[in-house]
Amino acid sequence: MARIHGLVTASALALGAAIAPASAQEALHVAWYGGNWGDAFKACVADPFTKATGVTVVPEVGTSTVTLAKLQQQKDAPTIDVAWMDGGVSELADAAGVLEPITQAGVPNLANTVPQAVYKDDGGIYAVGTGYYSLGLTYNTQEIKEPPASWNDLWKPEYADAVTIPSPANSSGVPFLFFLHKIWNAPAGDFAPVFAKIKELKPALFFDSSGAASNAYQSGEAVIGAHFNVGAFDLIAKGLPIGFTVPKEGVWATDARLHLVKNAPRKELAQKFIDTALTPEASGCLAEKLFLGPSVKGVTVSAETARKLPWGEKGSVENLYLLNWAEVNAKRAELVDTWNREIARK
């Protein structure tokens, strides 16, 4: 018996010893996404930050929605200082009251940021964009020689059963409906024409995840459709016969934004971190690694990278269709429900 008691005590002590140094050490906790996104955030922002301040960055990996859920759960005693979340979720986080205003005094580089990337509400600046990405027209260059000029090409009979667009389970699904609504000049607030047209589409699949879209283009299951510029150029970099184009109607785009967490335990450092992300070096680095359109003024990228940015070769942030997320979030549940009933069943 004593032996078991001893064992338990010993393991409890060992456990305590293992946890203690981690909590004593000063480290900045930053929430970001997984995969190549997280790698790029680390290389472009966290590493320079650590080099300049000597403070290590502890990543809290999760998608935007997961991060928001975490912030809501730890509202009273947050452990995360800074959080990356996408457009759309950013507005929800603001509404949930988990964000602290970002100030010019705390983050001087705000002055270098394009005005579109500074998000304000009554309480001040709640988010700042660190780079745009878009959902453009992606196609198989072996099957389609000329870059398609319009989104309406997806309905051409020769592409029957080989088209893909996002489903509402994807973060771009509902925004894409708004985008179609706009390019087709549908009556305000009425999505019936949009659904009627999607019903006529002959899809290979409606993709849930960016990975599923990549897979479909890679296997030839889809020869034309929508895809994120980040995913499409990843495929192109692997040598696959894929093209990405910004058609005449433009593209829907959104951005990855940084947020200061309310009552962040290390506010000073958190502000410094956001400031680091808004330097031309960090912004240019994210453009090179993830093809994110820079939100910082005066960033120059190589010609090779310029081609892969969300607005296409010659565009700028002006060519992007950026949504009013308050409108999208208000109609989200209704559109998902209509999609389920009208489109996602045989």
């Binding site: 018996m1 389970a169 899809p203 290979a204 699949l205 897979n215 989200r332 998902v336 996602a344 069943r345």
Partner: protein, 278 residues
């Protein structure tokens, strides 16, 4: 006498704490959020919205139909496979190799395996190439975005559970029973039907319940292989949590699926028990 009791309590504490923290607590959170509104007031509105809407019953029917067919096919494929491994293979190393072959895919994530099926079952995939090469079909058959495609993916992923549970049950049967049956002049088919099959039933039922529960709740495989053109219940739940952010409605959907599945599994369990030899 108190000492062993303390030991027992100590030993039980860890698993109980684990169970409470990672199973009971999240379940309570979900159940509570399914019966509350945004302001915290109690409401049955989410359940009314689900149960009074024919659409949800249609999706439930699709979900349970796919799960039942998956279970049936898994039994039809898994039982002979288990029989082959336990009764026919004489060479130990080969049997071991077969078991490893059956278990190894379980070490790979569902996502990767479902992506694999997307490639195999695609218009230009290996399956269609083979069928067209053999002259069985002229145009590629559409598997993705059909219930057939989802069934193929689920059966592939869940068959090992049947092989393992039925194989275990078969291995435990004393062959003396079958010999006795033969001695009494009964043919092999009737021996199988009246002696062997009833003895494997408990194993088969537990395998079937496992497969059914996993098929009903499967998300990744149906989501990928349906190509967004067929909806199963788990996809509705995921949507509410991931893109609509209505956690209350999402929770009510989860509890609905859980309760209905439990009811069906209990009924199946009763049937299995009823036939158990006394």
């Amino acid at each position: 006498m108190t000492a062993p009791r303390t030991t027992l309590a100590l030993l039980l504490f860890a698993p109980l704490a684990f169970f409470a923290a990672f199973f009971v607590a999240p379940m309570v959170v979900v159940a509570l959020s399914s019966i509350t509104a945004d302001d915290g007031a109690l409401t049955a509105a989410h359940y009314a919205r689900i149960l009074l809407d024919q659409y949800h019953w249609d999706v439930l029917w699709v979900t349970f139909r796919i799960a039942l067919l998956t279970t049936l096919i898994c039994m039809l494929v898994g039982f002979p496979l288990a029989w082959y491994l336990v009764r026919i293979v004489r060479w130990r190393a080969w049997r071991r190799a077969c078991v490893i072959l059956i278990i190894v895919p379980l070490f790979t994530s569902n996502i990767v395996r479902s992506f694999g099926w997307m490639v195999l079952l695609g218009r230009t995939g290996l399956v269609n190439q083979g069928l067209m090469g053999l002259g069985l079909t002229e145009r590629p058959i559409r598997f993705l975005g059909t219930e057939t495609g989802i069934l193929i993916g689920l059966v592939y992923i869940l068959v090992p559970f049947v092989v393992l549970t039925v194989g275990n049950a078969l291995a435990k049967i004393d062959t003396a029973y079958e010999e006795a049956s033969a001695d009494l002049g009964v043919g092999p088919a009737r021996t199988f039907w009246f002696v062997t099959l009833p003895l494997t039933l408990p194993g088969a039922v537990s395998g079937a319940i496992m497969v059914f529960a996993l098929a009903v709740s499967a998300y990744v495989t149906p989501a990928l292989l349906s190509g967004g053109q067929i909806t199963v219940f788990s996809m509705l739940i995921f949507q509410q949590y991931s893109s609509v952010f209505d956690f209350h409605y999402g929770a009510a959907l989860s509890i609905t699926l859980l309760v209905l599945t439990l009811v069906l599994v209990t009924v199946a369990g009763r049937i299995g028990e009823g036939r158990k030899p006394a």
